[in-house]
Symmetry: D2
Subunit: 269 residues, 4 copies
């Protein structure tokens, strides 16, 4: 299966501003892309590419004053199969985890693990210390948090979500990630494209999607606390400890987003 | 000058627990150490060493139930000179920074840069966009935050410090780091040994010290928002985005610290 | 499409020996695997997992004296499509390359770039400075090196291949990588599974395969100087500067390989 | 003690050429520098800084056609003490080594460990498996290789040195590193400033110096197979697997070095 992906962003920039972008398809999906990776900007500026410490392909540029457009388009090959489930996968004790993964047990900007330890063990300490504990966290978040775009705010943390019980997909993931880390289960945040392949079309305009990954059975599994079911056709853009590490754009000064369009759909033969 | 450094920690452990330790002298100081680096534990357990993603030498072990002691002793060579000052060093615009340093502009667990942007620019936007802006932040934190061990709590963030205006050395540093990052100046947290060399003896028992580093003139400078003056004889243990990344010990379960002694003093010839 | 992959290795070990293994499916393919990643050993020993500095999942273990067996089995999802071609992709000047990629321009153990500069420019300096230069190198290696298992030897370098004009797949790749780097084009070595999907069955027993990647159009493309045509169904195991970085097994002492079986074939519905 | 360091390089450049420079003082010595780190070029060009994968501070630039000058000057604080000796330090078995260090056991461009295994064990297999084995390798190289600038050539490998028994400091280090790795002892190459502090003045013009590091007692020790005695006042510039990783300058095209001056001397009070 081929999936058409891309986006267009238009900013209004009052004065030249440095921006950090997390807008490439993830390097580890390079081999499934059908075209070179290229960020197109209008006006044309130098796009300074680099790999960040999570392995994401990031870019830095200086947006000039005025309208500033960023555009990307590609086609990704995909197996067309649903993603693997965690059913039966081994939950590792901490002393068995690869050490480069220990960082995904710690607190981060939007995941205050240190404040949720008692809550996590209170809610899930009685569940089996297996993959079923992960499923229990997923089910709890899926059931107890209400989705709504009107609940989004940029500084919202997992603890806020726990108190308010409302949020967007990023908030569902922060909540699940924080509970899992508190239970000594490595979890990380991911963002990318997810279309409606195999499910009814969503009633909102397309947007980038958030999901997360959990380390079980000596590999990372893709999970989604909002949808809580395996999906087809995710295309990864970036991963980090939480949304702070993988903001699509970080402006070191003012840049107002005026237009934002994302596309991700199966290429029909 | 030779500086004698080390510590002893004793934990009471109710059941075997995995621990992550940030208790080695930093690898980049290996060449000034007079002895091999060794964590001694009683009872003796396997100490599983690794370099974390910040370049710190960390260790993982499983502490057995009962009393558990960790001990370290070494001697570091030092120039005996005061650390360099930032006076005159160039403040880099964001587009000029090495890209591996951009992560030190972002928010982290205890440094909510996203919540302090307006405050930082309100307080310091009028200062010269030079090293003097860094000095102004230092002076402000030094003047406006009151030191006291009774103000310490593990979940305290920079925003909390801003509201409460009280804290321990870690809080001074989080406050300064957060303001600096909000001003687009890379800053990172550091922890290690700092004795009384060249200053009057402190009236408290010795402890590990926190300080921070700021990137100016294409290098990192050591700064200390609590003392706000150049010192002699810091020995670095670990660096990270904030205290969360460099906790001396992180226990994945219960371990009560019962005794804690740190030493750092000049070896008299 | 689902591809069944795995292997069995049996060693004869005269005395306990530390081994470094590069035998997991690459972490970036974790999301297409249908099962957890697990190395099974007989006798059972502690397998100490880690991510190496190239991003590969490696493992260290101590093989006990006697027969020692390592076994792996999994199923990978694949799009079933041929890999993308370099046709039309942009060749970057050195000053435009992401800096983490510059290391793939330098010499390494089996790729003596420093000894092949004049040769490379003599042979290919007249070709267009586009993706066609890469194709010209591929075609030259494909045409001028003769394949044969009898030509394999572990210390054989690209320079040796240039002189002898004979080798196995690893040698084809070292030759191409070295010429490309000499021409300032980043290239890296890869190893993994490649079955006969879409091509006539090979007349030899299955083995791991080597291929390489080249950086064009701001992404890595998969190329294969031995077969010199796009293939279906490669499953990546490890990448590095050359074969030295990704040896399947490195023994720090004696371990004789007695049996070696690899499987990789389409799972028929 | 304060040490004055720096250099001046002048190239003749026939056509604009990309260069990779390893000419900053190592980031881990930033805290002992008295001045900002700055590469000055004439004509002035954009110097694009980055940290390479070994932790060195590297730079990339495009040298314009004509005379091109690179200049650096700084002052480093130093304890004035001789470097620590390996006497008594623990030799680690491979399964005890931190995993990020295993790469320093493998072969690299100028260190053909795979070709020297039998030789290394033949020469040193009978020595005690302690720090004395390291000393034995040092002594052997120091005794059996003859120093002379006329023996330098850029493609010379450890195996070549073993055959020819002649070389410059880089060759002494490659020989020792290769033998040590073959004996399963981690060793890495280093380059930087080394003046005549505490020893008779050398009869040649100053140059950068090479040395190496060996991992014993859970830390890296500085060793020097050419001088074979502890020294005072080394200032580190870069480290890598061998000289290939830390070439002072790598030109991706033609750049003729016309003038080369290095200074490193104690600042007299």
């Amino acid at each position: 299966m081929l999936i058409h992906i891309g986006y267009e962003l238009i900013f209004d920039v009052p004065a030249p501003v440095s921006m950090l972008l997390m807008l490439y398809t993830h390097p580890e999906q390079a081999h499934v892309l059908q075209k070179p990776q290229r960020l197109i900007t209008e006006p044309k500026v130098k796009v300074d590419d680099f790999k960040d410490w999570f392995g994401n392909r990031a870019a830095r540029l200086v947006a000039p004053a005025g309208k500033f457009r960023i555009y990307y388009d590609n086609v990704a090959a995909d197996s067309g199969l649903k993603e693997a489930t965690i059913h039966g996968a081994r939950l590792h004790p901490v002393d068995e985890l690869p050490k480069d993964i220990l960082k995904y047990l710690l607190a981060s900007r939007y995941c205050e693990v240190d404040r949720m330890l008692d809550t996590a063990w209170g809610l899930f300490g009685h569940t089996p210390a297996t993959w079923q504990r992960v499923q229990a966290v997923m089910d709890w978040v899926h059931t107890n948090v209400t989705f709504g775009y009107e609940f989004a705010r940029p500084t919202k943390t997992a603890y806020d979500v726990f108190v308010e019980r409302k949020g967007v997909c990023r908030d569902f993931m922060h909540m699940a990630i924080t509970l899992l880390r508190a239970l000594n289960i490595p979890a990380r945040y991911a963002t990318g494209y997810l279309g409606d392949i195999g499910v009814p079309p969503a009633p909102f305009p397309m947007d980038f999607s958030a999901w997360f990954e959990v380390y079980l059975g000596h590999r990372w599994y893709t999970l989604d606390a909002r949808h809580n079911e395996p999906r087809i056709g995710r295309v990864l853009q970036a991963r980090g400890r939480d949304a702070c590490d993988v903001a699509l754009t970080t402006s070191f000064g003012t840049a107002r987003l005026e237009k934002f369009t994302v596309w991700t759909e199966e290429v029909k033969p």
